[in-house]
């Protein structure tokens, strides 16, 4: 492997040899210049992460999420229904007439087809079950995370246990 290729890989992983492929690791073993390059990159990263963290202004996330929600909010049912019958850009009176006719037709059709049942359709039932299952799963995960913290606290009291930094890596899902 050439020095140039190895250095490109080193830049991608900030000089950490843990993520390099075997050929690059072998190259580092014999090339001092690249080893120095790797050490400098690691040092740079450590210095960067030594800087105190800058916190985002209070409420930034909420404001950004709210803005995204606003921008993604679908148009009202009136506009969507009108757009279905009449092309975008048509005069307002044409769109209003189209919606009025559609509502009238739907009312007549609904009366004819009504069978007297108000139970949710099968699709609705499936959606309800899925939501309940998801909530149950989320509660289950919260519960397990609480147990995980309890367990780690106990583990730290073991005489030969590693410090919390090792647990930080050990107990991350992968």
């Amino acid at each position: 492997m050439m020095c140039r290729q190895v250095r490109q890989e080193l830049i991608a992983c900030w000089g950490s040899t843990d993520e390099l492929e075997a050929a690059a690791v072998e190259h580092l073993r014999v090339c001092e210049a690249c080893r120095i390059e790797a050490a400098l990159l690691r040092e740079t990263r450590v210095l960067l992460h030594s800087l105190p963290a800058e916190h985002a202004p209070s409420g930034l996330t909420k404001r950004v999420v709210a803005r995204i929600a606003d921008e993604q909010q679908p148009a009202g049912w009136w506009s969507r229904l009108a757009a279905w019958f009449v092309p975008e850009g048509s005069p307002a009176w044409a769109r209003a007439t189209a919606v009025g006719v559609a509502i009238a037709l739907a009312a007549v059709g609904g009366t004819v087809l009504y069978h007297g049942t108000t139970s949710p359709g099968p699709d609705q039932a499936i959606i309800a079950t899925t939501v309940a299952g998801g909530a149950q799963l989320a509660i289950g995960q919260q519960e397990i995370e609480d147990l995980m913290v309890r367990h780690q606290t106990l583990e730290l009291t073991q005489p030969l246990a590693d410090d919390p930094g090792v647990h930080l890596v050990m107990y991350t899902s992968y």
Partner: protein
């Protein structure tokens, strides 16, 4: 005696004294005792690599920057790989923070008083000295520093832990934990360390960012015998029939905790270096087996079980299968 001669004599005496001091400390239990006592009592800063293995294959590797200030202040921050940078844990002796910026989450846990933890660890270590096999393996160099090498085995000869302990400051410069097949399960080693650190103000302080979810962990419960815990919980514990080599049930350290308003038994199993927990509560939950991090949760015979710890996935499964309520 000439000045040169005196200097030579002093140098020889110092070398002899030094080698005598090193030669005196080759008792593995004493080295581990000093290592346990040094945690939180010695200031240092360094960079280390932590690698996790599964079945002998590397599955994760991170680089961490570590700062320790006596007494009991510690800050460990992940600095590589990029996707995990900024994850950290911070301790001041009583409070333990774990912060994950990617998840926007910080977990706050109250720790028992450090003096009590140290006393407990030293007592347990003496027990390990009686029940496990300890071996002194000489001196090796880690991060440019000489380190005593100590290995801990089960009575059957299976390795549990290997430690490289600094000969001067008694801090573990490298550790390896082994799984129940004798393969390395985790390895943590310093690549750079200084025992004359300077800390910038605020190094050991942590304020969760405004939009971060803060989760407060439950306090440590009272520990008791299995019989007493079963009586308090109102049901019998289902214990695994299979335990990985070197592990035993800590029958005097059982606890009853509350999960979703109901009592749950907490059974710990330890080999001295590692511990895994089995939680058992009555009642229904999701019928599917749920895997989350290093845990398995399942439902059997009217009970819900959660098994969690640093065992390999295969060992977790084997322990799970051996539990019959």
């Amino acid at each position: 005696m000439s000045r040169l001669g005196r200097r030579a004599a002093i140098a020889v005496a110092a070398a002899v004294a030094c080698s005598f001091a090193l030669a005196q400390i080759d008792d593995p239990l004493e080295i581990l005792r000093r290592c346990v006592s040094a945690r939180g009592a010695v200031a240092f800063a360094g960079v280390r690599t932590v690698v996790i293995f599964e079945g002998g294959q590397k599955v994760r590797g991170v680089e961490q920057q570590m700062h320790c200030q006596a007494p009991h202040r510690m800050r460990i921050v992940v600095v590589a790989p990029e996707r995990e940078t900024g994850r950290m844990c911070l301790m001041d002796g009583r409070v333990h923070w774990e912060y994950d910026p990617g998840a926007g989450r910080a977990v706050l846990a109250q720790m028992p008083p450090p003096e009590r933890v140290l006393q407990r660890r030293l007592e347990e270590l003496d027990r390990i000295g009686r029940t496990m096999r300890l071996q002194y393996c000489g001196i090796e160099t880690i991060a440019g520093r000489p380190a005593h090498v100590v290995k801990v085995y089960t009575p059957q000869g299976l390795p549990v832990k290997k430690s490289w302990v600094d000969t001067e400051h008694w801090i573990a410069l490298k550790t390896q934990q082994f799984d129940s097949h004798g393969q390395v399960r985790s390895s943590a080693y310093f690549t750079r360390i200084t025992f004359s650190p300077t800390f910038t103000p605020g190094t050991f302080e942590f304020e969760p960012p405004p939009d971060c979810a803060v989760i407060e962990a439950s306090r440590a419960p009272e520990r008791m015998s299995l019989a007493e815990a079963e009586q308090r919980a109102g049901f019998r514990a289902a214990r695994p029939r299979y335990l990985p080599a070197g592990y035993s049930f800590q029958d005097d350290r059982v606890a009853v905790i509350s999960i979703s308003g109901g009592p749950a038994l907490w059974l710990p199993f330890s080999n001295g270096a590692d511990i895994f927990s089995l939680f058992q509560r009555a009642g229904a939950g999701p019928t599917d087996t749920l895997r989350h991090g290093r845990s398995i949760t399942w439902q059997d015979g009217g009970y819900r079980f959660t098994l969690l710890g640093s065992l390999s996935t295969a060992e977790m499964q084997r322990v799970k299968t051996s539990i019959r309520p």
